[in-house]
Symmetry: C2
């Protein structure tokens, strides 16, 4: 059976300020309603004879993965939590161990969570052909037929034909300079290395044994000692930490003698930068892509994204990327967007938060957004999902006022438990043990006004938590 | 005696989004802590033998003018409210009528509220020389010695010398093309028309009698029928409406045979656009002027203004103006900022509000800022100044929750009056007659959560108001 393995480990800063460590690119709705992760889940769900997807992600993103899987009604083949980033080869090894345990003949379709594929029929066809090669014990990379001389990707040079439109891989080549990329394009035997693969799980583990035995051992130990926590499989931290960090390309694909490539034209993009998003987006006749409330005069070749309750006006500008969020706006020349990394580095160096968190922070129970802040107060808009509850908690330095503006909240405050309806309020004194729960079927929205001398997120004692965070 | 007359009638859209109809350029702190209006007040206050300034402004800005005068501890020579805009000549006539009533020998120093003057000693010197000429019954225009070939200003050509560094005005000339401006600059006998004047009030009225008798009559009637309201002098609307609308240049200066010019170099700017603000601002070695939280990479020749609790990041951009406010961000090429007008026109045409009001709205009692909004709720941060009170009011469609986060508020709710301290809250039911007052010496800050089916500002019945608005 075919088991999709979705690698969702990226913490992508290249689409900052929209993508941040706590809510990276794969979880954002960049093109349409679904996130890139959800599009990936939906896409693999449409394949024939396919099992529920296995997701490999970081601890920080586990609730987001769970929620987004639910959001597209997908079954869940397992959510494997990496205790730390170790690149793609160990992540795939975890998935392989997980799958061979129940299906010794499992075939893995490995997909990064954050890629765009426009022609799904072509993709499905390529998967079917790769699956035939995988049965013949090939490890198949999907190569993208280049339609221009891209210098930002690695390339795969194909060798002899293997049938099914597949080829032996002659060699992998690093990101070329422009002249080389143009030659690759002209020669026609090179394809972009998409980071998507298909092979039998056991075969992958066998290759690790030959080419990366330390990685095989470390991931085997990490998975064997894994603990289940709600929907999540938390592998052993110490064992996983012992694994070498390496990509599947270096660790396996470049070393095995069974590497194959299936070239495909499927409207693929890794959306690796704001300019590549502009490239794949529909644009107006002046070459502009606008999202949200944008008013422009004489603007050309630009990507402009406004955020909620805010407008952006542009005059006489060309080839810009303007991306607005509630706490940060980026204005960059479109051909310089790779330097977003330099901004993120400056934020890190300054000990700031804007590369880590959005103003609106997602939690397993819903979200909060810090809508105002003063010297001794903070105002948050809190949304609690149906059926969800915050932890039973208390604060040492702040009191809280809650005003429900939508839905009905169940409030615990010390020894009282009571319902709070729309347009009702309550007061949580400093030090009180309290909890907020939504027992209804619609989201509860409330405004929280915090008052106190210290208002940091770390002023919290969790006494009980349904999400295992106490 | 010398009476400064400050013309504060502008509703300047050229510095949108920072300048809006309800809070135009003259009231903004563009360079340093004081607003341009306050800088003007402070500057004239430093002149020798000067009386308190008379301000002419629109009805909408009266509380702002009063507050900003107080803010710099200035005495108040009268705040004349124009019922509608009639250009500068009638506005100055109102001030002349106001002043000759108590001081028949009053000399007026007429100054737009929104100009910048860097060399105050040169300005004071020019005023002293102009005052001598005014005693000889000249109407003196201050001409700015051009330091480059500006095409955006009118020019004044000087004639024979009159002593005191003054000259007869040979003629006024309209905004020239670049070649003409360059010739004016080379010839040395042309000066920019600054819009600043000095003359005896009675002489000005005499000139109106000869050259604009309808204006004289209308403004005389309007002032004679004026009503005092708190600190304000509200001239008669019907009479004032009958006045022709004209500038002092056309109505008087170009017609009188007693027009003089005193050329001066005093670091003058009318800050008529974002690019002229950039020109006069101190800049870093890359030619950038940053205000607020700005992080940049390879940025040159740009003006970037971030707003509170928001950062702006720039990469690889050049000669841009980026101005951020809580609800709108402008990104414009620096040499295209005059087209801000086109954006404002689009906002008008769309029936929007962003050219009229800021998210934070100033009221005579303080301010409110709409920090969040949902389908059936709105959250405001309200600041009540010491000694101030909102009107006694009620709403037909909304209830309100108030949480005090700083200071102590006196709350009236139907027949109860009580104090609300920091970290205390109260509920104002729909339909209740209520009032908020600050009897303390520090500002009261509170968070208001409105809940209801309609949340517009017009759902208000004012039963009593200390500011005469009920």
């Amino acid at each position: 059976m075919l088991h999709p393995v979705i690698l969702s480990g990226g913490s992508g800063s290249r689409l900052w300020p929209l993508s941040r460590q706590n809510l990276p690119k794969q979880f954002l709705s960049l093109m349409g309603d679904l996130s890139l992760f959800q599009e990936t889940v939906r896409r693999v769900g449409a394949l024939p004879d396919v099992r529920p997807p296995v997701t490999v992600c970081s601890e920080d993103h586990r609730f987001m993965v769970g929620e987004q899987l639910q959001g597209v009604g997908s079954a869940n083949g397992g959510i494997l939590l990496e205790p730390m980033a170790r690149n793609t080869a160990p992540a795939i090894a975890l998935a392989a161990w997980h799958l061979v345990a129940s299906d010794p003949n499992a075939t893995l379709l490995v997909l990064p969570a954050d890629h765009l594929i426009e022609d799904e029929a072509a993709f499905r066809d390529a998967v079917a052909r790769a699956a035939v090669l995988a049965e013949q014990d090939w490890l198949v990379a999907f190569g993208i037929r280049p339609d221009y001389a891209e210098t930002g990707y690695g390339y795969i040079l194909r060798g002899d034909g293997l049938g099914e439109g597949g080829y032996r891989i002659e060699r992998f080549v690093e990101k070329p300079d422009l002249a080389t990329a143009e030659r690759y394009l002209a020669e026609g035997s090179y394809a972009w290395n998409s980071g998507m693969f298909l092979f039998r799980a056991q075969r992958y583990l066998d290759e690790l044994l030959r080419h990366a035995p330390a990685m095989l051992a470390a991931t085997s130990d990490a998975y064997a000692a894994a603990e289940s926590d709600l929907d999540f499989i938390r592998v052993d931290k110490e064992s996983f930490a012992a694994s070498p960090s390496d990509s599947i390309d270096y660790a396996v694909m470049e070393k095995t003698d069974r590497a194959a490539v299936v070239p495909v034209s499927c409207g693929w993009s890794d959306i690796g930068s704001w300019s590549s998003l502009w490239t794949v987006a529909e644009r107006d006749e002046d070459g502009n892509r606008y999202e949200g409330d944008v008013i422009s005069v004489d603007t050309r070749g630009s990507l402009v994204r406004a955020s909620d309750r805010r407008m952006i006006a542009t005059i006489g500008v060309e080839d810009l990327v303007i991306v607005d969020t509630p706490d940060a706006t980026l204005v960059a020349r479109k051909d310089r967007v790779q330097d977003v990394k330099a901004i993120v580095d400056k934020l890190k160096a300054a000990g700031r938060q804007e590369h880590l968190f959005h103003r609106k922070v997602y939690r397993p129970w819903g979200s909060y957004d810090s809508i105002d802040m003063g010297e001794r107060f903070q105002v948050k808009r809190i949304v609690v999902k149906p059926g969800a509850a915050l932890s039973l908690q208390k604060h040492a330095h702040r009191a809280e006022h809650w005003i429900v503006v939508s839905g009905t909240a169940e409030v615990t405050c010390d020894d009282r438990v009571f319902d709070l309806h729309e347009n009702q309020s309550t007061y949580i004194p400093l030090g009180s043990v309290h909890r907020l729960r939504n027992r209804g079927t619609e989201p509860v929205e409330l405004i929280e006004v915090q008052s106190g001398s210290y208002l940091g997120e770390d002023d919290i004692v969790r006494l009980e938590d349904v999400y295992g965070r106490s």
